[in-house]
Symmetry: C2
Subunit: 340 residues, 2 copies
């Protein structure tokens, strides 16, 4: 089959890779309907995250079940399925507590490479959720978003305890930040402040339910959030970037007793203990347990309540994956969908 492989910084090639096959009785193999490029794929693409030799890329996927192992019972060939970027058994104590991304048997799907025509999914019963029927083409981008960016934004909003009566600020206007706006609003937040300097992203944030836009960042952004919240800071702040500046901006924008939900992969970030201590904020985040939310998200997409697929503003054939990476790296695209 054809699949994207990163050979070094800036060097993504679509090449022949071995066809996946059932290796364990708990595996499924999918024929992918769509896949995409994640903001976190840019870390190795930019050389910030080191690699050990060429690596297959991609961890977001939706597709048709092609084959299942002998022990798989919850999905069957021909079904359209959505999975998360961690394979998880969904039965261990950690999964049952809603932390499938911390599953004791978890497998990072990035190691298997979903930017490809086919994908082997370990622990298929625990990982995949089938839609009621094979969806029409126009819903596929939204289901694909559920695989990571929507699920991650939803987790961030949940971790930040967005809900009725709350003012929520969102740091980061990438796909995750924009979908965190959507999630916060769906969870009932009264006011959602999107922090963005880019007009097209501001517009999408407003469409997703943002009530306010703040263009300032860093200390000025913090001051603006304080101004909008009677000097106290937001109840809930979502961090969807993963830098020292964005983490501190999130923590400092939160009122004492408020909640920070952080889902940007935190490279080279150090949180100063004394400032954390006196901030009195709650901090929670990490790799999102997307599987927890998938059944609900699939329902909300299926009935047209939400349209998270709108974050894809570039669509390319898989063969042009390198163009998709470049467009995101140069911030010409929020998120690139790839058609295998």
């Amino acid at each position: 089959m054809r699949g994207a492989v990163l050979h070094g910084p800036g060097d993504v090639r679509v090449e022949n890779r071995p066809d996946p096959r059932i290796e364990q009785p708990t595996d499924a193999v999918l024929r992918l309907s769509a896949t995409c490029v994640c903001g976190s794929d840019l870390w190795p693409y930019r050389g910030i995250q080191k690699m050990d030799g060429p690596a297959p890329m991609g961890h977001e996927y939706v597709g048709i079940v092609e084959a299942v192992g002998a022990e798989v019972t919850s999905v069957r060939p021909g079904q359209f399925v959505v999975g998360s970027f961690w394979a998880s058994d969904n039965t261990c104590e950690i999964c049952r507590a809603g932390y499938q991304s911390g599953c004791v048997h978890r497998v990072p799907m990035g190691s298997l490479g979903s930017q490809a025509q086919y994908l082997r999914v370990p622990l298929a019963d625990g990982t995949l959720v089938a839609t009621p029927e094979v969806p029409p083409a126009e819903l596929i981008p939204s289901y694909l978003a559920a695989s990571d960016v929507l699920g991650t934004g939803w987790f961030a909003a949940t971790a930040a305890e967005a809900g009725p009566g709350k003012t929520v600020a969102v740091v980061g206007d990438g796909a995750v930040g924009l979908l965190a706006v959507l999630a916060a609003r769906q969870l009932g937040a009264e006011r959602v402040i999107a922090m963005s300097r880019h007009e097209s992203r501001q517009k999408l944030a407003l469409d997703f339910g943002a009530t306010d836009i703040v263009a300032e960042r860093g200390d000025e952004g913090v001051a603006r959030i304080k101004e909008l919240t009677g000097g106290l800071g937001a109840h809930s702040v979502i961090e969807a970037v993963g830098t020292q500046e964005s983490m501190m901006q999130a923590i400092r924008s939160t009122r004492p007793g408020g909640h920070v939900g952080y889902v940007g992969v935190t490279h080279d970030v150090n949180l100063p203990g004394m400032e954390m201590f006196f901030s009195l904020v709650h901090l929670h985040g990490g790799p999102a347990p997307v599987r927890r939310f998938l059944p609900d998200l699939i329902e909300l997409i299926g009935d047209g309540t939400i349209e998270p697929g709108r974050v894809f503003d570039l669509e390319l054939p898989l063969e042009q994956a390198d163009d998709g990476y470049r467009a995101m790296d140069e911030r010409r695209a929020v998120k690139t969908l790839l058609r295998p």
Copy 2:
């Protein structure tokens, strides 16, 4: 009046200080029944926390109301009262959310110095809680504990979401750690693991409801907690020390999705973002909003349900405050009560 003043590292002197008086209509002045030395007082005593010249010391107190300002309505002269180490209005939005230590009008009581005969308490209505009657002498140490160490341990256990069905580990065997054991148990935790290498502290932890003792610390302590929790880590971990080692021990002892409640004042601590991210823990703590818990704690002490005053293992006249500091510095005493 007489009061303790820190002149420099290791140099605590009890000397004449001006008698406090009502300065604001919201003030009260207390004649103190008892006060004490806090683990956090040892930071400046040891020279780790810098000072600007001589400073009155102490922020824990119980006593009899001597005088109140014209606007004070909730306490009156002659009543026995307990207050927290932050004066708070208890009416602002932050206080109403239960974060009185983040009150928009808060005053640190440490700046007023409670290791003294008398104490001015700002925002008396919001800060002080009266007991139903003037208590017998034997209850005074327990009420004094409520002023900080019990309230702080209670907050830590609450922040760590200790409760029914939970396994709670406590890092730190000082007064706060020991009372966090008590709090976790009172909040219904199924299993409470006290981490301590000191026999007398282990014994008190067991008396307060610890079900297990772990003497190992650092990586070995983490490994032991994992062993005791099926390899997963504790649901809830309380950090009551405030060093890099103790914070990392707490975070690493917590299962994915679990909760760390931290109340040790975090000097020179830096939390590595990447490890925090992948730990998937909840982190919450800071200066405890003791005021939130005072009414309940006063009731539990009054009816004999809890006896937190047992953490005081040294009692001295105020005039010997220096001996009290030294005993705690040398870990000969868990906590020193001072009689003004």
